[in-house]
Amino acid sequence: MSQFLEISGLNARIDADGQEKQILRGVDLSIPPGEVHVIMGPNGSGKSTLSYVLAGREDYEVTAGSVLFKGQDLLAMAPEERAAAGLFLAFQSPVELPGVNNANFLRTAVNAVRRARGQEELDAVAFLKLAREAAKTLSMAPDMLKRNVNVGFSGGEKKRNEVLQMTLLQPSFAILDETDSGLDVDALRVVAEGVNRLRAPTFSALVITHHQKLLDYLVPDRIHVMARGRIILSGGPELARQIDQEGYAKFLSEAA
Amino acid sequence: MNTISPDRSGPLALFSQRLEGVAGAERQQAVAALQRVGLPSRRVEAWKYTALRALGQTSLAAPAATYDVMAARAVLDDVLAAQDTLAGLPRLVFVNGRHAPELSVLSEAIKVTFFVDTLRFGTAAAPDRDPLVALNTALAEDGAQMQVEAGVDAGALLLLSIGLGGQDSTFSFHPRHAVVLEAGARLALLCVQAGQGAYFHNPVTDISVGNGAALEHVTLQLEGDAAVSLGTVYANVAGEGVYDSFALGVDGLLLRHEVHARLGASRAAVHVNGVQRLGATQVGDMTSVITHAAPDCISRQTVRNVLDGHARGVFQGKVLVEQIAQKTDGYQMNQALLLSPDAEIDAKPELEIYADDVRCSHGATVGALDDEQLFYLRSRGVPEAQARQMLIEAFLDETLALIAHEGAQALCRAMLARKGGVGASA
């Protein structure tokens, strides 16, 4: 079998106000099982777009390329099928769901995924127990489960809520899109621990970030730099430190 | 042939003499429409809150051919005194519905013809549906037809309609105005309706805003204290055009400002804002229908009412979003401040929506001055009357700030200040 996640020649565009806008211009990336990879890159380079395309957002049209996930054609799957297959995206800005109770939402999602994976569904009592424990580990206020999904959550609370969902859904591949931005040091550690707890030979992650700080906790395997819709450079963990100190400019001009 | 029986047609009978002499196909069609439906009673949904009883019982004649020039000049001077920057603007002055060339100052940038010469009715008005517009069509005496050529920024124009009535005079006038802005043209049109005594003023204004053109249209109703003024505006707005309207209702016995704005091509924008500041037994009605007939258009409406004495304020605002009008962005807010136990507000904000990908909202509030705020001001040493005045001004301030033309905004504020001094204790 090839890699765990194999992205080749991925091109994607969006129709914004009647204008075609090419965003991804040939992304090649492979992530073996058990590894944590990082994407860095200036604002607007297409990092979030890549994560949306991987999760199956229909606004983006894939015009070329392929994505194999555990040997399956990821691009042919519906978003919920991708979730069931183990893909999880922690959104850069999670949407609010007014009137939808967080606990109920989580349970519905967890059970939908469990069902699809052939696991037994959790009853309300068992689920709540699990959710409360997870929330506690993430030092979330217990009433977050009772509130509506993301409604009135602070930026940090939203990010924690994403990590809570990740913990409960037990993905085999997690994409974290700037989950660390705007978090204080403690919250940062909580997020990192959330990922680290999932780490296993069968779990991989793709972490989008601008900061070395998160990587201190996560210990990544590979760093990729994205610019203008493609990966222009890849390297070991030292690359992140270099970028943290020197910025992107140098790498961009070298690549150009 | 055009007989109208007084018993069946209600207030329409007041016009029966004038309607009998009507000639010309368009005018006769309008008379036929009037005979079918009459002038609206409160059983007609669009007139649910406003009765035409104020028109009185006596037949309304055509305005006299001559007028008191001194009196007209005094009204003009009074308006200019309230806001002196307006004196430098080109202006068109009408007295009792007829153009008064001796008081007007023309501008090169605006082509003007007069209805009395062209007899052009335009196409936007709907006399079949709107009886007062049918009445105007049947009886229109004169009006200004203003045109700005493509790409020209014509600056500002003052259109002053003066009504000169006595305490119980009985005449009506029905001006027929039109504004055409060609593609990319710009104009700020300041319509001041001022006067004294009793009369019935029933103007119709037919507006066409071309591609990328922008019209700012400010209307001040400062009519005579016993006057009835019922104006109807039709505005068709083309792609990327802007129709930005503001109406201020201050003086007159019965006032209604009715706007039908149609967003006809994408990225057009319409603002229909207004303020009513009424006291005594005044009735003021702001009615609008904003039709989104194309995708990606924006409409905004903010109307605030301050009502004192036995005054009654009416707001009827309908936003209609047709099926084609996806991505419509519509917002409407109507608020009323009741200053007296006998004041009344009737509001009907309405959304009629046939497209799914839209964001439309409206809101309405009614209340009195906030006791806590009043107390706060007084505890800082502001006397009660002044504190009330401050809060009223604060309530209206944001809305007045929506008037882009500085002179027009200043004129509105000046007229409100006059009213505030009189009406505060009423």
Partner: protein, 494 residues
């Protein structure tokens, strides 16, 4: 393809198959000839063994009705109704008013069983699971076409002093109460349909809760139209005395038929000092098929009078059925400090039309009202919220808050909001907010990314949208209503 496009297409595909209550009960019927005249009214009155005053009242209403025209102001359209082509009385052929459940035709009991409405008290009691001791049984009045076929738990209720019986029985057994209150909130001539109802009403429920009594269980009535070409004209009267309270539920279903059937009910509520009435409806009359054939015309007048100080009337409705709904449950807030509430969810799909809302008339000082209306339109349906908030000069300190939200699914439907706000008191505060939007792609995608199917995601978001209303329903109803919402929009996705 964007999710919303799929959603629209799927909505368009949605067929009648989702109406699960559309079966017909084969039972021998006692049917009055078609048509409406004084003789028919006399016949109804005599079948019900009514006293003379009742007949006179009906006849007066009939004469008023003859001079009236049906209202045209609502945003609904339908061909003229031939009022002479309807049966005004249809009853299962058995002795009128069975005294106990054993006398009820087993076919009828089956019908209600199929509808999930237990009429067997024993079975119901046995069904109360141990450990959930707090859950109270529900007393049920079942109305089948023109008559009440069974009322359960009457004994338990009688011990508490609560009268809960078919209105036809109340007219015979409690004439003083009925005479005092019938038509006192909705006068016969109030509108075209109330006049019609007053002339020909056949059955419905009567509830009387005496002073200081909190009704020991939820009361409910299930209405079922079965016979062809019949109209259903039920009449409900609920009187709650000082310091007393009751919670009343109403459910409605009908068979699937090609023809339209008329349902013109009148509900009157009276609340005295410190009394409270909670009236909940889950209306699921047959809505017609996807082409708009058949379905119930639901023209209903519901009004509550808060006569006493600090009294409270709360209307909660979940409207998913009917071809046409014309319905404005209202509150007349007369007593000082009285409270009116209206919580509504209206779902229309296919060719349904709904024009529904409320009137809050503030007469007394410090009266308060809350209106929360949620409208969901799909298919080619049209849905209108129409509401009136009126504050009269004496209602100092009155407060109203109104929130109307509409959700559109697809671009062939319409959603409209028509509030009327009339305020004649400066010491009142009225606030109104309305929004219209569609289900956001962002929300759908977020749910799907977490593994929910599109259909479940829509269901979840719609239920979230309606939450402020659904939480007002009694537990049992809330669950039913949630399912109903899902079913009504079933197939609206993938």
């Amino acid at each position: 393809m964007p999710v919303a496009t799929e959603t629209k297409e799927a909505v368009e595909k949605l067929g009648q198959s989702t109406y699960k209550w559309g079966f017909e009960t084969d039972i021998e019927m006692d049917l009055a000839p078609k048509g409406l005249n004084e003789d028919i009214i006399r016949l109804i009155s005599s079948r019900k063994e009514e006293p003379g005053w009742m007949l006179e009242w009906r006849l007066a209403a009939f004469r008023t009705w003859q001079s009236m025209e049906d209202p045209k102001w609502a945003k609904v359209s339908y061909p003229p109704i031939d009022y002479q082509d309807i049966h005004y009385y249809a009853a299962p052929r058995s002795k009128a008013g069975p005294k106990s459940l054993d006398e009820v035709d087993p076919a009828l009991l089956k019908t209600y069983e199929k509808l999930g409405i237990p009429l067997h008290e024993q079975a119901l009691l046995a069904g109360v699971e141990p450990g959930e001791g707090e859950r109270l049984p529900v007393a049920v009045d079942a109305v089948f076409d023109s008559v009440s076929v069974a009322t359960t738990f009457r004994k338990t209720l009688a011990e508490a002093g609560v009268i809960f019986c078919p209105i036809s029985e109340a007219i015979r057994e409690h004439p003083d109460l009925v005479r005092r209150y019938l038509g006192s909130v909705v006068p016969a001539g109030d509108n075209f349909y109330s006049a019609l109802n007053s002339a020909v009403f056949t059955d419905g429920s009567f509830v009387y809760v005496p002073k200081g009594v909190r009704c020991p269980m939820e009361l409910s009535t299930y209405f079922r139209i079965n016979a062809r070409n019949t109209g259903q004209f039920e009449r409900t009267l609920i009187v709650v005395e000082e310091g007393a309270s009751v919670s009343y539920l109403e459910g409605c279903t009908a068979p699937m038929r090609d023809e339209n059937q008329l349902h013109a009910a009148v509900v009157e509520l009276v609340a005295m000092d410190d009394a409270s009435i909670k009236y909940s409806t889950v209306q699921n009359w047959y809505p017609g098929d996807e082409e708009g054939r058949g379905g119930i015309y639901n023209f209903v007048t519901k009004r509550g009078a808060c006569r006493g100080a600090r009294s409270k009337i709360s209307w909660t409705q979940v409207e998913t059925g009917s071809a046409i709904t014309w319905k404005y449950p209202s509150c007349i807030l007369q007593g000082e400090g009285s409270v009116g509430e209206f919580y509504s969810v209206a779902v229309t799909n296919n060719c349904q039309q709904a024009d529904t809302g409320t009137k809050m008339i503030h007469l007394g000082r410090n009266t308060r009202s809350t209106i929360i209306a949620k409208t969901i339109s799909a298919g080619r349906s049209d849905s209108t919220y129409r509401g009136l908030v009126r504050v009269q000069p004496k209602a100092s300190g009155a407060r109203n808050f109104t929130q109307c939200d509409s959700l559109l699914i697809g671009d062939k439907c319409g959603a409209h909001t028509v509030p009327y706000i009339e305020c004649r008191n400066m010491a009142a505060r009225v606030e109104h907010e309305a929004t219209t939007s569609k289900i956001s792609e962002d929300q759908l995608f977020y749910c799907r990314q977490r593994g929910l199917s599109e259909e479940d995601a829509v269901g979840l978001i719609v239920n979230g949208f309606c939450r402020d209303v659904l939480k007002e329903l009694p537990m049992e109803f809330a669950v039913e209503a949630q399912k109903l919402l899902q079913i009504s929009l079933e197939g609206s996705v993938g």
